[in-house]
Symmetry: C2
Subunit: 222 residues, 2 copies
């Protein structure tokens, strides 16, 4: 029974890591769809999102079944509750990647942003993707230096998000209201996505150390 | 021991209902702060948000402790997992109310929206507030006709959200880019808030009936 139990715990952990990897791929492809106005790639990201919802539901069912049939000790329970919370957050990150893909689809065959912002969105996409990639590493290794990197790169993301606001509000913005709104919403999706990565990294730190670090405490070890 | 157990379950339920009521108050006050450019009210909403974060953490600790010390049966576990998920969502709704208050603070002493949109935001605030009020009723009574009302009024919210997009993008919009972005973000906060109410209503329906209804299935009984 105990052996089966450890198998079940490992299944939950594997499902969580699969969710993170699917989210990483969703973000990478959503950004590519956005940068290249690639409609079929955008459609793929949108339809693949259902898999994340399914995995989150599976993790919930697995957690309920393991608690009902086994008697997990306190530290294992902390892990299970952590898995539940993290899966809900990763599901939302998948939604944000899908929002980016939907924005690309909405303006297709046109771009959703003026050409001069291409490198900005390319960088935001790279930051978001690498953050969630590191999240998989923290989950697999429990090495919190990855968590610190996630918090540090979130600060870069916030800076870019603020700069984009300044750009669309400056008198030299000549692309009109629709483009300003598109850029603002896209920027917000990237910023929220990275923010969720930090929230998950903090939660892993809590599981590992027993203390929930603030964002700046987490970044200090980068 | 069983008696103490039922007390613990009731505490969790009471904390959840307190969270919903605090969120209702936060949304009502945030909307008032927005409509009247009331800085001190906005500040109060922002600082009160910490209480919601604390309650969500408390619910998590209570769930872990109850599962560790008692052996909840499957239906009770489903309730506990539901409480965990719902508290995380309500925490996010509180964040959205705080975002609205922050927007009011950002433009103080000016308004965040042109005068002709006053009634729109007033209605969005009323819809969001009444949705979360009904959520407290579903939680307290498990009467799913309230849940149906929540889903139905979310459709009104979505319609207003789409209409605001049309307004800020129309050639007759004369208030510039900054106001267009303010209005778009505010509208998105209200729409997300109402959307979370529906997600929670669906989850309660799942706990009560064992089936997770789609949004349109939930609305059908309104």
């Amino acid at each position: 029974m105990r052996e089966h139990y450890h198998e079940q715990l490992q299944e939950i952990s594997a499902n969580l890591i699969e969710m993170v990897k699917l989210t990483e791929s969703a973000m990478e492809r959503a950004t590519r769809a956005l940068l290249n106005s690639d409609l079929s790639l955008a459609e793929a990201v949108i339809s693949d999102d259902a898999r994340l919802d399914l995995l989150a539901q599976q993790i919930e069912d697995q957690c309920v079944s393991i608690v009902a049939l086994q008697q997990p000790v306190a530290s294992e329970l902390r892990n299970l509750v952590g898995a539940l919370r993290m899966s809900a957050t990763i599901e939302r990150m998948g939604d944000l990647a899908a929002h980016i893909a939907k924005q690309a689809r909405l303006r297709y065959p046109n771009a959703s942003f003026p050409t001069e912002l291409r490198s900005t969105f390319s960088m935001m996409g790279a930051l978001a993707t690498s953050g969630v990639q590191k999240l998989a590493s923290v989950l697999e290794t429990r090495d919190l230096t990855f968590a610190a990197d996630i918090a540090a790169s979130d600060e870069d993301m916030n800076k870019m998000h603020r700069e984009l606001f300044t750009t669309v509000l400056s008198p030299s913005w000549t692309h009109g209201v629709e483009a300003a709104i598109d850029v603002t919403l896209l920027s917000r999706y990237y910023e929220r996505f990275a923010d969720h990565s930090v929230a998950i990294a903090r939660r892993i730190a809590y599981i590992v150390t027993g203390d929930l670090p603030s964002r700046s405490q987490l970044a200090e070890n980068a």
